[in-house]
Amino acid sequence: MPDAAPLWATVVLPVALAVAAVVAAGFDAMLSGSAERGPAGSVREAGLRALAPLREALRLLVQRPRRTTAADRLLGRLGVVLVPVAAVLAGAVLPWGFRAVSDPSVGIVWFNAMEALAWAAVWLAGWGPNSALSLVGGYRFLAQGLAYELPHMFAITTAALGAESLRVGDVVAAQDGLWFVVWMPAAFVVYLLSALAMSFWGPFEHPVSRDAAGGAAAELAGVDRLVFLGGRWLLLVVTAGFSVPLFLGGGHGPLLPGWAWTLVKTVAVLALLVAGRRALPVLRMERYMEVAWMVLVPLTLLQALFVAVVVLNR
């Protein structure tokens, strides 16, 4: 059962998330490296490639910040900083084993509210520099938000419905026997899609994609860029990690202790997302929007209905 986590967990949480983000980014860099330069010949070479994100972070720290003419620096800065902050705040309800930093009675809604902050953040980061392409990127994320948010909400509501509670700890407890992914597969898949969309990463990186010279990040340099793009990885880790308590049974599992199961499952989900990214081009919202509203929304509603009927008859 959920216990309150000790105070030090508050400090450890951002660090743990950052480490996970670096590991995930390193894995991604290794896969990209083998696409660009062929398979790594040696373990050392592979290791060097995996270090690329850290090297990149150091490089950005050394870069001097820059600003653009007539920029709205206050809002731009706010947007940049809000991305990692939203990720960490959402991570506060993420149970590690059976303990989260905080397990409020409406944890699931809290998680959703914090990720909605990313909407505001990306738009602000795009608006701030007063540049056409970065504003285009900011708007793309709003469109993306409109497309993914509704199916996403229904997906996580389905998990809450299955557990008859909005508390994350209760959702984990309800999966003691059967994981939710078994009887809510549609919600799980939709959740994974929206996890990518929310962290505007991979197939959903249109707001920061190359065709608009980096979109919302087009004018960010130095530390700003590091915080923004690093925050994106944090968001990915948090949203991927949250699928574990929601659908994959949290810390439940044989033999290993709860924290180990959480770790294993989170790594598996992240690896799936990072590797799966290779198979997909970027999904543009003008196409995805229709799919989201015409297919995914009814699908998640049916899933929720099914779960509701099961819960009522149990």
């Binding site: 709205d72 009675s105 409406v106 909407w119 602000l124 709003l142 003008e286 229709e290 015409m294």
Partner: protein, 187 residues
């Protein structure tokens, strides 16, 4: 004691941001000042023990303001506020009216004999709310649902200029809609 401090901080920020909404030249800043103010309102609601409603207010207002920013930039003059300008009418009269309204409200608040607290909040107010909406307040819930549905229909009708005859031809027989942008379901 911490509650007291949080209350005052949130209250002052809410009021200050509320004032700034109408003082910023930049539409983006005005929108986000309003968001700040409403997030503080959400915080106060959390402080009063309504966890669910407080978080929902945070969630909804964030999304609402993010979308509002689009419309602001789309339709407003001078969205970035690069040129100082005023777009108000009847400022003095309005200020007088608002001061009077505030004075009356404040007097009412301070002078009214508020009844003392009856009952205790239940352990889970969210549950209360749900039971109430699905029970005695069912009518409210249904009315809200209908209103939201009517709003969706009405706003789409208002905002779009294209109907199904424009999209599927006069006899509605076209297999794919004639849209400016091709959608994703391949119809």
């Amino acid at each position: 004691m911490p509650d007291e401090v949080i209350f005052w901080v949130l209250a002052l920020v809410a009021v200050a941001a509320g004032v700034m909404v109408f003082r910023f030249d930049s539409m983006a800043r005005a929108t986000y000042a309003l968001l700040t103010s409403l997030l503080c309102v959400g915080g106060e609601v959390l402080l009063l023990g309504l966890d669910y409603l407080g978080v929902v207010i945070v969630l909804m207002m964030t999304i609402e303001m993010a979308i509002m920013a689009v419309f602001m930039v789309m339709y407003m003059m001078n969205p970035a506020g690069l040129m100082p300008m005023t777009m108000v009418h009847n400022k003095k009269g309005a200020a007088a009216i608002c001061a009077a309204v505030f004075a009356v409200l404040a007097a009412g608040v301070l002078l009214a004999p508020w009844p003392s607290r009856r009952g205790r909040p239940s352990a889970d107010p969210t549950m209360d709310l749900g039971l109430s909406l699905m029970g005695p307040q069912m009518l409210t819930m249904m009315a809200l649902g209908l209103a939201l549905f009517a709003t969706i229909v009405a706003t789409v009708v208002l905002a779009t200029r294209r109907g199904r005859y424009d999209r599927f031809g006069d006899d509605l027989k076209a297999r794919t809609p004639d849209d400016a942008v091709r959608g994703g379901t391949g119809r």
